[in-house]
C-alpha cells in the first residue's frame, strides 16, 4: 500500500490511452492494407499517405453518429456492455513491460492480472448480446461463452508451463529469464497452443463465431452504433495488442534482441504477432462452433496437459 502515487497512475493511464488509440489506428490500417493486398487490392489509399489516417476518419464518423438502442433492450446492460468490454484494458496494459524499465506498474502477479482482466471481455460480449434484445446478439453472446469455456483451460496450462519455467508470475521476470534462449524454441508446443488460444481469446477469424457476419449479421454488436460500437472495436484491437504483448513476453523473449533498443524490439515482436493474427484472418475460413469445441477439448486440452506434465517432470529431475 506504500506505492500509491497519484501522479504516476495518471501519467501511465494517459500513456496507455494514447497507446490504445494509436495501436487501434495502426492495426486497423495494417489489417485493411493486408486484407487488400492479399486480395490483389490496394486497401485504403485516400486519407493520408497510403490511407494511414483512414481509421481516424472512420473514428470521427462513428463518434458523430447517434447511439440507437432497440426499444425492448435492457438499457442498463446495453450501455454497460461496451464499457465492461473496454475499461479492463486500461488496467491490463499496466504490467506489460516494454523494456526492463518502461512499464506502468510492476506487480508480482502481472501475468495473472492480464489474464484475469482479459476474461472480462467475454462478460462484455455476453452482456451486449443479452442486453440488445436481438436473437443474433444473444446467439453471438452464447457462442462467445462456449468458446471461452473451451480454450481457457489449455491457455492457463500453457501459461503455467511458462510460469514454472521462469519461476515467477511477474511479466518482467519472465521476460528477463529468456535472455539467452527464447521460450518459443524451448516450448514450441506451448507456443503454438498459445497462438491458437489468443486468436480464440480475441474472437478473431477463424474463431469469430461470436460475430460471424455471414450467419449472425454482426453477432453481439448487431444493435450497436456510433460511440458504443467504436468502443467494442477499440476493445477488440486493444485485446489483440495485449494478447500479442503477453505472447511476446512469454515466448519471444520480451524486449531482448540485438542492436536495436529494447522497446523497439518489443514493439516489433508485438506487431509481428499482430500481423500473424491478421494473416490468419484473411487466410482461414471460419470454423463451425462444434469444430472449435472439438479442437478445444480434444486437441488443445490433452496436448497442453501432456506438455505441462513433461515440462514439470523435466524441471523436477
Amino acid at each position: 500500500m506504500k506505492d500509491i502515487n497519484l501522479l504516476h497512475i495518471v501519467i501511465s493511464l494517459l500513456g496507455i490511452m494514447g497507446m490504445v488509440s494509436l495501436n487501434a489506428v495502426l492495426v486497423v490500417w495494417l489489417e485493411r492494407k493486408t486484407a487488400g493486398r492479399m486480395q490483389f487490392r490496394h486497401g485504403p489509399m485516400e486519407v493520408g499517405f497510403h490511407g494511414i489516417l483512414q481509421t481516424l476518419a472512420d473514428g470521427i464518423k462513428l463518434v458523430s453518429k447517434q447511439l440507437v438502442a432497440p426499444s425492448h433492450a435492457d438499457t442498463a446492460l446495453f450501455i454497460m456492455a461496451p464499457v465492461v468490454s473496454l475499461v479492463p484494458i486500461f488496467v491490463a496494459m499496466m504490467p506489460i513491460p516494454f523494456s526492463a524499465t518502461i512499464l506502468a506498474h510492476e506487480t508480482d502477479t502481472g501475468l495473472l492480472l492480464v489474464i484475469a482482466l482479459g476474461l472480462l471481455n467475454t462478460l462484455g460480449i455476453l452482456l451486449a448480446g443479452w442486453g440488445s434484445d436481438n436473437k443474433y446478439g444473444l446467439l453471438g453472446g452464447t457462442r462467445a461463452v462456449g468458446q471461452i469455456l473451451a480454450y481457457k483451460i489449455p491457455l492457463l496450462l500453457t501459461v503455467l508451463t511458462i510460469v514454472i519455467l521462469a519461476g515467477s508470475f511477474s511479466l518482467r521476470e519472465i521476460a528477463m529469464s529468456q535472455n539467452g534462449l527464447w521460450n518459443a524454441f524451448m516450448q514450441p508446443v506451448a507456443f503454438l497452443i498459445y497462438i491458437v488460444c489468443i486468436v480464440l481469446e480475441t474472437n478473431r477469424s477463424p474463431f469469430d463465431m461470436a460475430e460471424a457476419e455471414s450467419e449472425l449479421v454482426a453477432g453481439f454488436h448487431t444493435e450497436y452504433s456510433g460511440m458504443a460500437f467504436s468502443m467494442f472495436f477499440l476493445a477488440e484491437y486493444s485485446y489483440m495488442f495485449v494478447a500479442a504483448a503477453l505472447a511476446t513476453v512469454m515466448f519471444l523473449g520480451g524486449w531482448h534482441g540485438p542492436i536495436l533498443p529494447a522497446p523497439i524490439w518489443f514493439i516489433l515482436k508485438v506487431y509481428f504477432l499482430l500481423f500473424l493474427m491478421i494473416w490468419f484472418r484473411w487466410t482461414f475460413p471460419r470454423v463451425r462452433i462444434d469444430q472449435m469445441l472439438m479442437m478445444g477439448w480434444k486437441v488443445l486440452l490433452p496436448i497442453s496437459l501432456i506438455n505441462f506434465l513433461i515440462t514439470a517432470v523435466v524441471l523436477a529431475l
Binding site: 493486398r37 492479399m38 490483389f40 487490392r41 490496394h42 489509399m45 494473416w279 487466410t283 482461414f284 486437441v299
Partner: protein, 159 residues
Amino acid sequence: MITSYVHEIVRGTGSLLAGMKVTIKAMLSRTQTVQWPRQYLTLPQRFRGHIQLVPVESTGYPKCFACGNCARTCPSKCITVKGKKPEGAKKKSPTTFLLDFTKCSLCGLCVESCPVSALGFSKDYAMAGPSRQDFAEMDLLSSLASPFSTQASKEKDHG
C-alpha cells in the same frame, strides 16, 4: 488410434501452412485493381460496354441510315430510331437514336443485325448517374457530328 490422432493434427497444420503460403504470395504480388478515377484500366479489344454509333471516318456523321433493323431485332425493345433525309443526301440519317440502357442486356444482337455495321460496343465502363433517367434514354447521337446543321430541323422532326 493415437497415430491417426497425431496424423490428423500434423496434416491439419500442414494444410493451414499451405493456405498461409498462398495468401502471403498474393500479398507480395502486384495488385490487380487501379486507383479509379485517377487511373483507368486498359480494356481488352472485345470489351462490351453499352452500344454506340460508329461514325463515317471522313465526315464524322453516323454511318447509320435509320433502317430500324436494330430496333426490331432487339429482344428487349430498348432502341428507338427515327430518321429522315438530310438536304441533298441520298440516304436517311438518324434524328433520334435513344438507347434504354436500363433494359439492355448487352446481348449484341443489334450490332450483329446492322446491315452497314453502324453499331459497335463502347469501352465506357465507368457509368454512374444520379437518376435512372440518365440511362433510360441515352442519346447515342450526342457524341457524333450531325448532318442536320440546325437545331430547328431536329425540333420539327420531333413534332
